[in-house]
């Protein structure tokens, strides 16, 4: 399992994460920032647990993020 964490406040809505992992990210029509699909929010930080099959695409999303607001962690249940 992996945990994807999105510090959304500093997001600049560049779309890089959507390009890298379109099944997991989309751009909000309301504020133009990206949304981590199916994530839960706690104090403006969004996170989600998902399978290892999504790792490589989301690592790319994290690396390509210009403001480095995406973190990927290994998760041991």
């Amino acid at each position: 399992m992996i945990r994807i964490i999105h510090f959304r406040e500093k997001c600049v809505g560049c779309n890089a994460c959507v390009e890298a992992a379109p099944f997991r990210w989309r751009i909000s029509r309301k504020d133009g920032k990206s949304i981590l699909i199916n994530s839960v929010e706690k104090k403006q930080v969004f996170s989600l647990l998902t399978g290892d099959d999504e790792l490589s695409a989301n690592i790319l999303a994290a690396n390509n993020c210009p403001v480095k607001v995406i973190k990927i962690e290994k998760f041991q249940p």
Partner: protein
């Protein structure tokens, strides 16, 4: 000849108040992320617009909204909602470069200023954009002669904007310069996937570099290792020549800068412009203004590309060459308006008699003062220690939202 207008950068409510205090004619600011300081400045939100407008209206300061990044399809709904909000709150103009913004602003009837990101360098481009805009910001890489020629041709050909009046030309007068032609730098995108043209520049050009021969591995010594970091533009020494080109608006760069920077630079240029029209623009005044401008953030100054000849002057240090640096020491508590005394709490460091102080706040703006008398529990003291409440005389009202800084000097 109509008096040239001064336009100041605003990245926070502190800077907004500072620009108004400094005597600016208009301010420009970004809201949300579709502007060239998406990374570096604390941008306002749509909800801040009424307060910005209210603060500016009482001082008859015009408000310009920057919306000048590249716009992708996924940005369109945000771009439209920002422009709708700008229309609702009667923002005076939008600074834009992308055609989608020009088009939608025109539909809404919001006046448009063409951003320097559009790189307007010739009269044909001015004519092209005149279908959308009454004010055009020229590229920063033109010489005074080229700027004057464009203004002359606008007047000769009668190039009119949507309002029916001749197109006005705006140029940068002061602030940081890009090492690339504005809007054409891909260095940050290449190294960090952070597009400068989406406001996310990581400023690679401001760092030192070495030159290395790939074949032998020998590193070459370069006189100045900051080979790409341009010094800051400063035109106060030839402001008379700049105004005589016929430009209508002088713009100060720096939405990422602090309130004291905005105040000092705005005030110097306000005084210089007024002095020019009163026939009192003199060399001794220029020297005084240069001293003041050097006291706040700068990378050393040069005249930009206006004077021709030199291709670029590079700075030799990573950060600021400001002769004054500020250290945060405490916050405002309350103000006794009858005897003009402000009470502060010293949160760190210590403060001794005679120190120069800077107070900034969203309503207060910027106040420079000196601690001529320090009192703790109403007893005069020479030194205030960390954690103590103390009072000093301050000419203007201070508030709990204010921050107190100690100024130190370097040569």
């Amino acid at each position: 000849m109509e008096k040239v207008k001064l336009l100041s950068p605003v990245g926070s409510f502190e800077a907004l108040q500072a620009a108004i205090q400094g005597g600016t004619d208009a301010v420009y600011f970004g809201i949300e992320q579709l502007n060239m300081r998406a990374r570096s400045s604390n941008n306002f939100t749509v909800n801040d617009l009424p307060l910005i407008k209210k603060k500016c209206a009482s001082d008859k300061v015009k408000t310009y909204l920057t919306l000048n990044t590249i716009i992708y399809d996924h940005d369109r709904s945000l771009m439209k909602s920002i422009l709708n909000a700008a229309k609702k709150h009667k923002i005076d103009a939008v600074i834009a470069s992308d055609h989608s913004v020009l088009n939608y602003a025109k539909q809404l009837g919001i006046p448009v200023h063409i951003s320097t990101q559009a790189n307007v360098c010739n009269i044909d481009s001015v004519e092209f954009f005149s279908a959308y805009a009454d004010t055009i910001v020229l590229a920063r890489e033109l010489s005074l002669r080229q700027v004057a020629e464009i203004v002359k041709q606008i007047n000769r050909n009668g190039v009119k904007g949507p309002s029916g009046e001749n197109v006005k030309i705006e140029v940068f007068a002061h602030g940081a310069l890009c090492m690339a032609v504005s809007g054409k730098c891909y260095l940050s995108l290449h190294s960090d996937f952070a597009s400068a043209n989406r406001g996310a520049c990581v400023q690679n050009c401001r760092r030192p570099y070495i030159v290395k021969d790939k074949e032998s591995g020998i590193e070459f010594e370069v006189d100045n290792e900051y080979i790409m970091s341009a010094q800051d533009l400063c035109t106060i020494g030839f402001l008379d020549k700049l105004i005589k080109t016929g430009v209508a608006i002088l713009k100060i760069e720096g939405r990422g800068r602090a309130a004291d920077y905005v105040y000092t630079v705005t005030k110097c240029y306000r005084e210089a412009i007024d002095a020019f029209y009163e026939g009192k623009y003199t060399q001794s005044k220029v020297e005084k203004w240069m001293d003041n401008l050097s006291s706040v953030f700068n990378r050393g100054f040069w005249g930009g590309y206006y004077l021709g000849k030199k291709l670029g002057e590079w700075t030799d240090s990573p950060g600021s060459k400001a002769t004054k640096t500020k250290v945060y020491i405490g916050k405002g508590m309350r103000y006794f308006s009858r005897n003009k005394v402000g009470e502060f709490k010293l949160e760190t460091n210590q403060l001794s008699l005679g120190s120069d102080l800077l107070i900034t706040g969203p309503t207060t703006g910027v106040i420079y003062t000196t601690a001529n008398e320090l009192r703790v529990n109403d007893i005069p003291v020479d030194v205030v220690k960390k954690g103590e409440l103390f009072s000093i005389s301050v000419p203007q009202k201070i508030r709990p939202s204010d921050k107190l800084y100690k100024l130190t000097y370097s040569e």
